[in-house]
Symmetry: C2
Subunit: 460 residues, 2 copies
């Protein structure tokens, strides 16, 4: 077997024990909130039939889907003549019938349609699974990353939207974040704007332009609007709304005036107000975390009602979550008329924020609570006794498996962040007392077995 | 967008909320035991460079690896002439540079070699991730399935082997299994046999033949041995060992006689005895679960010492776990001299066993604990109050999001296995008492908010 210097595939990551503990901590905290609000977990396979995925993410998206090469004699179906006349694009469906999940949304739509007879509507589900994209890797962008989606399908009630605001608030607060904003807007309000300027056909262009506000600034947005066919008068109507500041209530009052003659716009305002009212009723503490942001557009064109985005002010990292209401997710698979609303959490970014702000609980770093050193073959029996005694109380414990220098064994405990080490040698064998070392303070004390257990229970 | 009837890719599965709860229960129980014994979780990416995986699983294995088609203009590097002269096999490395994980072992070896400077030896890690194989799907065999591996690398101590026996015992007992056997053998004992019959070069053939005992019976094994070049005298030595019955101790006594003149055989017996002695010392209750099985060979040729396999007698399902000691796992990536030992759990099979034996705890079926019905818009304020009150005590609760027939709302609760439903209508609004319905018994009682919380806390 030829020896090769091992490397990771481009854009992928290993997760060390420490990173796994931290990642699991984030998933655990978020999952607990999802469940508290009645959401249930599902999983879909890592790969889908290629036909399930293609055509759902636009032409650019299709290119970024990882395709799986057919097994077996895949070239027997492609004659050399056919090959010579093909392009990579025309050849792909002949070489590949399966592809890796690109997001969790399309497989979820497929799931709902396939399982529609078992599913209990409204169907409240969450999913935390990796997705894969053949993007050019760069800092913070990977070819394999986790998505963390929570959606309810089959319910029009705006209580769902309000509960998603609470879910964001509770999850992020439980993770230790204190200064963040849950931005909210409604696509019907944006539609209202394109209606009052008489250009409803330019709604997508309008939202795409406004969506870039953070990146290109007001002047950039205006320039793009001009390029897309909005005239000076249109812009004079839109501009004050882009510049809008003040409280949520004052923004809504302004909107009511501007959109007084747009039915869809008024409906959007009404939905927005209802969501805010429900959120307040459920937990008035969330009020100050909500920011009505008329410039929030979200690139994805399938949103039809409320849209959300979450930003933290404690780190310069972009959005850590987003979502919205969509009216026809399952239509692509032939099941019409199901409305849905959902949000997602950017787990990788949240990880970076918690790390930067030092918000991971100290114990996410450690796993084993006690290491028993291996000093002497004569002490082995006692060591194994104590080992199982400690484990029987539910503590994670290890016996260093070979006799070696104490220094090396202590270094092992240090590296693994093990807080307590039991030293067993001749003296301990004679007295029956064990020496317990606190690895952080370096303090040592001699304890009977019973006192040792009492100590561990008290110090956990 | 063309509508397509959605389907799953062949050999893959969706997991419903109920299945996810059950799967998570199994992973949680096993994970807790791993951690108690000092093992830490890592994860590796779903795909690796193709060169990392090829050549590690034999020619058959290589064919079953799912390859990922290169992105972009992958055919520009393959001229029509070259294509015409190619086979699927010779073309694959040109079309694909990445492949899906086939098992957790090879990526783990790659991980250890790449992270050797950060790793703390002995390195005790576990991994629970899906793997993918382009096998022909059949009942119980999927193209995507989870492996659940726990290994320690860098420690020769046989205490590790003994602890793996305890890990098997504790995990399976915690899952509710009572009648299972942890079979143990040692590859050095098998090597001893091929030594005493003077055919050490036939060790692999011997183990491959013996490994099939369960499938083809003693006569089948003997027939295969004859075909591989073992003569009547060889077989007269081997046969009594294959037929060996009795206690572990009596088997070991017989082995000591048969292998008295084989150094490697004697070493194997000594290792086996040491493992049994350590296991007994750690927990004498495991003794009756251990079965010395000289015919246990395990197909994989990289095992060099102890080998394990776990079978349950409560269901007819084959092995639910296996593993062993290997002396040179990381050698394939250029890091020599690291010994390792590990075991794995067959999570899918354990799932089937628990389902067949009805061993899943009742509460793995449910998630939401209380549903508040939506009867009347006038009751909405009270409903939202009670909803958040219940959630604030940590219970999972839902408010049915729209007003609809009570029957439909109760069916929703039933389908979702929600144990308690709160009914809110005109009467409840007037009296301030809520009606709590026990969905299992159908009993209803009227309670104040405070009594409701007391009741829920008591009945959880």
């Amino acid at each position: 077997m030829a020896q090769i210097k091992p490397s990771l595939a481009k854009g992928t990551r290993d997760f060390s024990p420490e990173e796994m503990e931290r990642r699991n901590y984030i998933f655990r905290v978020i999952k607990k909130v999802f469940k508290k609000y009645g959401y249930q977990e599902i999983q879909t396979p890592s790969f889908e039939n290629l036909s399930t995925l293609t055509g759902k993410y636009g032409e650019e998206g299709d290119k970024l889907i990882f395709k799986i090469l057919n097994s077996g004699d895949f070239i027997s179906k492609i004659s050399p003549e056919k090959y010579a006349a093909s392009t990579a694009k025309s050849l792909t469906p002949l070489l590949s019938e399966k592809a890796l999940r690109y997001d969790l949304t399309v497989p979820f739509a497929r799931y709902v349609v396939m399982h529609q007879n078992e599913i209990n509507l409204p169907f409240k589900r969450f999913q935390m699974q990796p997705v894969w994209r053949a993007d050019r890797p760069q800092r913070g962008r990977y070819r394999e990353f986790y998505q963390c989606d929570v959606d309810v399908i089959g319910s029009e009630s705006l209580i769902n939207e309000a509960e998603f605001i609470l879910i964001y608030h509770e999850s992020l607060a439980n993770l230790g974040l204190t200064d963040f904003h849950i931005k909210i807007n409604n696509r019907k309000i944006l539609a209202g704007f394109s209606e009052i300027i008489g250009k409803p056909h330019l709604l997508i262009d309008l939202t795409v332009a406004i969506d870039k506000l953070d990146k290109i600034g007001v002047e950039g947005v205006i320039k793009e609007m001009e390029e897309k066919g909005f005239n000076a008068q249109d812009i004079s109507i839109i501009r004050p709304i882009i510049d809008l500041t003040g409280t949520n209530q004052s923004k809504i009052e302004t909107l009511k005036k501007v959109l007084a003659h747009s039915e869809i716009g008024k409906l959007g305002i009404q939905e927005l107000e209802t969501v805010l009212r429900y959120a307040h009723k459920l937990n008035r503490l969330v009020d100050s975390f909500i920011e009505v942001d008329i410039t929030l557009a979200r690139g994805l064109n399938y949103y039809t009602g409320s849209i959300f985005e979450v930003k933290t002010n404690e780190a310069n990292i972009g959005s850590i979550g987003g979502g919205g209401r969509y009216d026809d997710l399952t239509g692509m698979f032939g099941l019409k008329g199901l409305t849905g609303v959902g949000i997602s959490f950017g787990a990788d970014r949240i990880y970076d924020v918690l790390l930067e702000l030092n918000l991971f609980p100290e114990n996410t770093n450690r796993s084993t609570e006690v290491l028993i050193t291996n000093f002497d073959i004569k002490a082995e029996d006692l060591a194994l006794d104590i080992l199982q005694l400690i484990r029987s109380k539910g503590f994670a414990a290890e016996f260093y498996p070979t006799t070696t220098k104490l220094k090396k064994q202590l270094a092992y405990a240090d590296n693994k962040m093990i807080p307590f080490v039991i030293l067993l040698g001749q003296e301990e064998l004679e007295t029956g007392l064990v020496t317990l070392r606190n690895m952080k303070s370096g303090e040592q004390q001699k304890l009977s077995k019973q006192d040792l257990l009492t100590f561990l229970i008290k110090n956990n």
